[in-house]
């Protein structure tokens, strides 16, 4: 991996920038994870409370059904056979928590009037109270359903965020830091190499210069020796400006 990175200064600045970005991302993600965790705990608590309430609701609703049947006789088939449009409907909307979209259900009454007069000649009041109890229970059920779907979605989102946080912390950032160290090392080494080469070159030059001097000195010495024996041009006085004819 490190072998693919060119150890240049440009690469260094590039990777330094990446590190800064990674660190910043890590901070932000950690904040998001904390926010999600807090909200998650709140939802879990609400679910617990509501489930306890649900037990009561279920018991009272079924018992009110028993009471209604005692007073008004069997009316299940009468209810099933009369066509009713739904009296309670559920509408959905999405809530945005720290970037996570949660589905929320809200129940609302369609305002459909239920006028089937069950128990008209006996037990009608018990039937009405039974209806009210079940109505209350259905509303709580819708709330519970909403909370549970948000719980599940939140759980997923929390897992994903934590995964990213851990990945950043344990993989990406150390990797980038590793690369930066490598580049620095390489650059240092290059510099050292350069320096050494420079020194060597300077030394060589000096050596060469010294050699050159020595040679020149030898040549001069030789030339001096030659001048003593006389030479053709000895008689010739360079100052006399006459031509030399052979």
């Amino acid at each position: 991996m490190s072998a693919q990175v060119a150890p240049t200064r440009m690469a260094l600045t590039l990777y330094k920038g990446k590190l800064v970005g990674a660190k910043k991302g890590y901070e932000l993600l950690k904040k998001k994870s904390d926010a999600l965790k807090a909200r998650f705990r709140v939802i879990a608590k609400q679910i617990y409370e509501l489930k306890k309430q649900m037990r009561e609701d279920a018991a009272t609703s079924f018992f009110s059904m028993t009471q209604a049947q005692y007073a008004a006789g069997e009316f299940k088939s009468k209810v099933l056979d009369t066509p009713h449009p739904a009296a309670i409907r559920v509408k959905t909307r999405t809530d945005n928590v720290a970037g996570v979209k949660l589905p929320i259900f809200a129940s609302y009454n369609t305002g459909v009037e239920i006028k089937d007069n069950i128990g008209l000649s006996g037990g009608g009041q018990k039937v009405v109270s039974c209806r009210n109890k079940y109505h209350q229970w259905v509303e709580n059920l819708v709330k519970l359903a909403s909370l549970q779907t948000s719980f599940v979605t939140m759980d997923e989102a929390l897992k994903v965020t934590n995964r990213r946080v851990n990945a950043l912390e344990n993989v990406t950032i150390p990797r980038i830091e590793g690369i930066i160290k490598y580049i620095n090392r390489e650059l240092d080494e290059l510099e050292r190499e350069d320096f050494t080469r420079l020194k060597k070159v300077v030394e060589k030059k000096r050596e060469n210069a010294a050699k050159e001097d020595k040679r020149l000195a030898e040549v001069k010495q030789k030339m001096q020796n030659l001048r003593v024996e006389g030479d053709l041009l000895d008689d010739y006085d360079l100052e006399k400006k006459g031509d030399v004819y052979f």
């Binding site: 018991a59 079924f62 018992f63 028993t66 049947q69 005692y70 007073a71 008004a72 088939s77 009468k78 099933l80 056979d81 009369t82 066509p83 009037e113 006028k115 089937d116 007069n117 069950i118 128990g119 008209l120 000649s121 006996g122 037990g123 009608g124 009041q125 018990k126 009405v128």
Partner: protein, 400 residues
């Protein structure tokens, strides 16, 4: 000497000749009711298997023996089957006019069954399911039963249904009178219009209103029949039926307060048509009911009638005593029905036997449901039958 079927059903000289055996049977059945001791044991049970064990000691004997899992619905079904078996046995031993009397008792259940079948087929449910849900005391001949759901929901279909099936049943008469009353004004009985009228009525009028109108006509008819039979039967049965009619009138008024029947124009037409033309409250109070639109007005109308004033007081104290108006009415019914066993030479014991057995079945189902749902504190809210500790008996003993 040729045998002449007597018209009268209640006088000392001839009663035992014709009706002695069935009456002896019904008094034998009277001792099969669960006693206070049995009810005590039942309320102490922990689960429904205990209930089954306790019931084996009583007259109910082995009625649940072949079932592995006991549920309250099962108890109700089996107990009703036992009641129907006893009723049919009684009817088989009876002669006229007792047979017609017993058939009149069955008409009430037939009305409910017909309503169930009609409404069920309108919503398109399965025939077999519907027949299985019918009350067994109200079954017609199986062929007739099968025919009812076969008709399509078209105008011609309804006309056919009405003419072939409903007219032949004993309650066909009530139906035709009901349709007469609900015919929108301005229509004449031309053939095509009739079919439309039938269809409109069956589709648009709510099932409860149809049922209550039929019940009103039934009560009036039964009352007429008992008067015709004469003797003690007329005296006792008419009183029982009048109490029933009053109870219906009060309940209809009370339960209509939150619904569309309470609108002023509905009150004088539809609601008024549901009040039977018999009873203490007829005709003054029922016509006063037309102006009643809330509980205070209802209380004012019931002031002059001491029995209903007391029952209304129970309703007003409902939050303190936890007893509802339905419980108060049931108690009064049980009181009157128990007393009808005291006299002899009349047909009322047969009616009383059915109604009291129904109350016992209601009690059994209530106790089993309370056990299943673990509502121990509510379990004693049933009405025990033939006990010495009933409130009205205690009051009478105190007054003596």
């Amino acid at each position: 000497m040729p045998y002449v079927v007597p018209l009268s059903g209640g006088d000392i000289t001839s009663f035992n000749v014709h009706n002695g055996f069935p009456e002896a049977l019904v008094r034998g059945f009277r001792s099969s009711f669960l006693t206070e001791y049995d009810y005590n044991n039942l309320t102490q049970c922990e689960n429904l298997d205990d209930v089954r064990l306790n019931l084996q000691e009583t007259d109910y004997d082995q009625f649940l023996s072949s079932q592995t899992k006991v549920t309250p619905a099962l108890i109700q079904e089996k107990a009703t089957t036992k009641l129907v078996k006893e009723f049919n046995y009684l009817k088989a031993q009876a002669q006229e006019p007792l047979v017609t009397f017993m058939e009149y008792i069955q008409y009430e259940y037939m009305i409910e069954n017909v309503m169930l079948l009609l409404k069920g087929t309108l919503s398109g449910r399965n025939v077999e399911e519907l027949i299985a849900q019918c009350h067994p005391l109200g079954l017609f001949a199986p062929s007739t039963m099968k025919l009812i759901p076969m008709f399509e929901a078209s105008p011609k279909g309804y006309m056919d249904l009405y003419q072939t099936v409903l007219i032949d049943t004993p309650i066909g008469d009530y139906f035709s009178r009901f349709l007469e009353e609900h015919k929108p004004s301005g229509h004449d009985s031309a053939g095509g219009d009739d079919a439309n009228i039938v269809r409109n009525v069956l589709e648009e009028v709510e099932i409860e209103i149809i049922k209550n109108s039929l019940m009103k006509l039934y009560l009036e008819d039964f009352h007429r029949f008992c008067k015709k039979v004469g003797g003690d039967t007329a005296i006792v049965m008419c009183e029982l039926l009048e109490a029933r009619a009053d109870r219906n009138a009060i309940n209809i008024t009370l339960n209509s307060f939150n619904g569309p029947l309470n609108e002023p124009h509905m009150r004088s037409t539809d609601r008024r048509r549901l009040y039977p033309a018999i009873g203490q409250l007829y005709p003054e109070a029922t016509s006063d009911f037309t102006d009643v639109s809330d509980e205070a007005a209802l209380a004012a109308v019931l002031e002059p009638y001491p029995v209903y004033r007391e029952i209304w007081a129970v309703h007003m104290n409902e939050s303190f005593g936890n007893k509802s108006i339905d419980d108060a009415f049931y108690e009064r019914d049980v009181e009157m029905l128990e007393l009808s066993f005291e006299g002899q030479m009349h047909f009322a014991p047969f009616y009383a036997y059915i109604k009291l057995k129904e109350q016992e079945i209601r009690n059994l189902v209530w106790i089993s449901e309370c056990i299943v749902q673990r509502q121990r504190d509510e379990i004693n809210k049933f009405i025990p039958l033939f006990t010495d500790s009933a409130p009205w008996k205690v009051a009478r003993r105190a007054a003596r």
